[in-house]
């Protein structure tokens, strides 16, 4: 069944169509959330939350963007909401903990905690998020602005400053 038919079915409330759509997009969604949160548990929890929100809001999907982009928008908003709820100080400590946990998980699987992940972990979430969306997923500043509810100009400046810091951390010529 094509994605368009599945979305049609999902809009009619067909839970099988929903399930097939979600199963197809789940790895993409969790991979994105892993990069943003740097925490597997949180990424999976947010993915479930995103899918639940998608069931609720499916009638608002107009097909103008890809379904995966729409899912990323919802996931980004859920992540930002979650971050807002937590206190700033506590949040920073949690991020530190997340990185340490991910590093430990990867090392225990004999995988390398590479320089890029280490450099990204030094950036705050409001800078890391647009860099990943822009330079890994290839979204435009306008699209990222819509996803994160931040003006495109601000997104551009955050990406710009974030890249300078990233290059410094990775010791690449600016």
């Amino acid at each position: 069944m094509k994605e368009r038919d599945l979305i049609k079915g999902a809009k009619k409330g067909n839970h099988e169509a929903f399930a097939i759509l979600f199963k197809e997009h789940y790895p993409f969604l969790v991979k994105y959330l892993m990069k943003v949160t740097m925490n597997r548990d949180q990424a999976e929890e947010l993915a479930q939350d995103t899918m639940a929100k998608c069931v609720e809001k499916i009638h608002q999907y107009n097909g103008k963007s890809k379904f995966s982009s729409w899912l990323i928008s919802i996931a980004t908003n859920r992540y930002i909401d979650l971050q807002r709820k937590k206190k700033r100080e506590q949040n920073w400590q949690n991020e530190e903990e997340n990185f340490r946990k991910l590093k430990w998980e990867m090392e225990s699987r004999n995988e390398e905690w590479n320089d890029v992940l280490a450099a990204l972990s030094t950036l705050s979430e409001d800078i890391r998020l647009p860099i990943i969306l822009k330079h890994y997923y290839g979204y435009s500043y306008e699209e990222i602005g819509q996803m994160t509810e931040v003006p495109p100009g601000t997104v551009k400046s955050r990406v710009h400053h974030g890249i300078i810091r990233l290059r410094k951390e990775l010791k690449i010529d600016v």
Binding site: E16, A19, P27, V116, L117, I132, L166
Partner: protein, 106 residues
């Protein structure tokens, strides 16, 4: 311009390499179709229940407001007018505050 594009490609390549190890593990751990179906069904049941509750609250509130307004209109017209003015002023203040908050957030 060319330099800028080259830098971007270089960064994309670096990010791809950096994320490789994170991505590998996730492909293998996608839950079964039944798990997704259950998730959707649970959410649909929850949404239906929430809709029923919201509708019941809405109808009850509407009935209460209509009853109060009808009684005041026929029994105490002055109180009816007072209520209308109070509601109008209250709604205006609430809208104003919400708008200011929204502008501040942007």
């Amino acid at each position: 311009m060319y330099d800028h594009q080259e830098h971007n490609d270089e960064l994309k390549e670096l990010l791809e390499k950096g994320f490789e190890s994170i991505d590998e593990d996730i492909d293998e751990s996608t839950p079964s179709l039944q798990w997704f179906e259950q998730l959707v069904e649970e959410k649909q049941v929850e949404l239906k229940a929430r809709f029923k509750l919201d509708l019941t609250i809405f109808l009850l509130l509407a009935c209460c407001i209509l009853t109060v307004l009808t009684i005041t209109l026929f029994q105490m017209p002055i109180l009816f007018l007072l209520l209308q003015v109070t509601i109008f002023v209250g709604a205006s203040i609430f809208t104003g505050i919400s708008y200011k908050k929204k502008v501040k957030r942007i």
